[in-house]
Amino acid sequence: MSEKSDTSDTGSTWAAAWATSQQALMQAMFPVQPGVPGVMDTQGALQEQFADLQDTWQESIGKWTELVQQGPKAAAITPEALRELFSPARWSGTGTGSFDAGLRHVLEGPKYALLVDMDRKLLALKQLASQRDKDLAAFHAIMLKAWSAAFERFSSSVASTAAEAPATWRGMADRWLTVLNDTLIEVQRSDAFVEAQRKMLRSASDHRLQEQKIAEAWCEAFHVPTRTEMDEMQRTVTELRRQLRALQRAGRPQPAVNHATATPPTKRLGTKKPRASVRS
């Protein structure tokens, strides 16, 4: 059975249950009491009103039923779900409802199931890889054009200066390298080349950062410190080192002056250990 027809059946069941329960409600609200004196005159009018009310109600229920049957989320609004909505038991467990999803996350931590999100991350990575490849291809196109231009220049230089045309393979190689060098340098100074390099570098960085994001998601799931956390820790260490250096400097005596000598290093340093700071 397909999911669609499943949903439709569930919707019909629910609609029928809803209609029955509402009819029962109406009958309970407006009971018919035959044989009671003084009320017979008004009974016809009441019955007429009741019939009108019932028709309207049923019409409304019909519309609701139609709406419910159309909706793909009908499965979520089952009679069981409605019952659970008002059930105190629903609120007593931990991590069982969307309301306390945050609490569940705190109590249980990330679950492997959450790694489903990895799909989206991987998709983004794929898109970034594709962008990087596109930028790389654009850069290669510029280079290919430059090489073609260089080859044309080289060919015409060899053809037009037949008298000075290199006679050896080395001469030819040197000529080619000179022409190629000049052409490539010319191209490297063009806006198109600079922009292509910028884009290539940027998309490569973006791709790498997305890789880092994925790696960090795994790190978090497996209780491994992330790159970002390591960077933050290292930043703290760098700052502490700065402070330590400043303190050491503040506590150090200033060098004496006017004792200028050119001391050869051999005597003193042979026995002297380097003055290393506390860190290595």
Partner: protein
């Protein structure tokens, strides 16, 4: 038979034969070489101070002292200080030692993600200051000579401006000051790093640092490789082949490669300051660069300044560093422009006799 008189076919055959011989020779050389043959930064030195990942070295004297005040060499974070002592015959440090200079050098270490929060303040007010204080204390001196290289030159400028009493003479090499003067000479191959950085938004840089923690060394290697595309493309074929003529050339090549491969990550927060505040916003020369709430005013540098630059520096184009003349508050300002490129100043055969001697002679007059 001279090459010119050969037929085209014979010439091609001779060339093919030479090529194969060279390849075979190169293969033999590479088989013989071991890792210990391509050690770099081997000048004798001792660790005299350590803090966190920072190490201060003092180099073993190799000549009679000629200066009273020692020199502290501070490299940047984009490469490593080992470039100053690449090999025995290509070493600024050894040249200075041979001239009787007492040399210290600071090694910032190998930053990892745990260093992402380090800022310019940590390097200037913290580590560099600690090193200077240590040397002052050891020598009983109120001030020392500071030699900054590249970004280390920017650290040194900041330090000299904020702690003027601790610096006797300031030497800068290949140091950017006005980050927007990269095209002042209109040379297309100059200043790609400046252009590249200006093309990025501050948020692009922020995302880059967030994603990687640091400014990845690999990214900087890529940017540098782009600056000289021809050389990059030919390095491991034509370039390497050229070294197969001579084992010494091959060793130079491999040592240089070793240095290039050892490119550290740049601590993230400090990288943001470098790229956003300096490269993009040009705050240093504008007198707007803030360190821990204090403005770095280059006009506060009143000590003698020697500014060494490379005339064909495509990374720090000459005008970006020559802007220092108008920015500092001293009249004792000297420039030395050397032929060659950014790293060539330190490692080229031609510069070996000039750089160390130029620095020594300048210091000696101000010792």
């Amino acid at each position: 038979m001279p090459t010119a008189k050969k037929t085209a076919a014979a010439q091609a055959l001779a060339e093919f034969s030479d090529f194969n011989l060279k390849m075979a020779r190169g293969q033999q050389m590479l088989q013989r070489l071991k890792d210990e043959d391509i050690q770099i930064a081997t000048a004798d030195k001792e660790v005299v101070f350590r803090q966190d990942k920072v190490t201060l070295y003092r180099y073993q004297a190799t000549a009679k002292p000629s200066l009273k005040v020692p020199v502290l060499v501070a490299y940047g974070q984009i490469g490593r200080y080992t470039m100053t002592d690449l090999q025995e015959d290509r070493s600024m440090l050894r040249n200075l030692l041979a001239l009787g200079v007492d040399v210290y050098a600071v090694d910032w270490g190998n930053p990892t993600r745990s260093d992402r929060w380090l800022t310019f303040e940590d390097y200037v007010d913290g580590y560099l200051n600690e090193c200077v204080e240590f040397i002052c204390h050891e020598h009983g001196l109120p001030a020392i000579n500071l030699l900054g290289i590249c970004e280390g030159g920017v650290f040194s400028l900041c330090y000299a401006a904020l702690y003027p009493d601790r610096i006797k003479n300031l030497i800068l090499t290949i140091t950017p000051v006005d980050f927007h003067q990269d095209q002042a000479e209109g040379r297309a191959n100059h200043g790609l790093l400046n252009l590249w950085t200006r093309g990025l938004g501050a948020d692009d840089i922020g995302r880059l640092i967030d994603a990687n923690g640091n400014l990845p060394g690999e990214l900087m290697s890529y940017v540098f490789a782009q600056m000289t595309p021809g050389a990059t493309l030919s390095k491991y074929n034509v370039g390497l082949l050229d070294t197969f003529d001579d084992e010494k050339k091959l060793l130079n090549f491999l040592r240089m490669e070793k240095w290039i491969a050892d490119r550290p990550h740049h601590p993230g927060e400090a990288a943001k300051q470098l790229l956003v505040n300096l490269y993009k916003n040009n705050e240093l020369v504008r007198g707007e660069f803030q360190l821990a709430g204090r403005t770095v005013d280059l006009a506060d540098i009143k000590v003698p300044v020697l500014n060494v630059f490379a005339k064909d520096d495509h990374i720090i184009p000459p005008k970006t560093t020559q802007a220092l003349r108008a920015a500092v508050g001293t009249r004792d300002y000297t420039e030395i422009g050397l032929d060659g490129g950014h790293v060539g100043v330190f490692v080229s055969g031609k510069s070996q006799g000039i750089l160390g001697k130029g620095i020594h002679d300048w210091l000696r007059k101000r010792d």
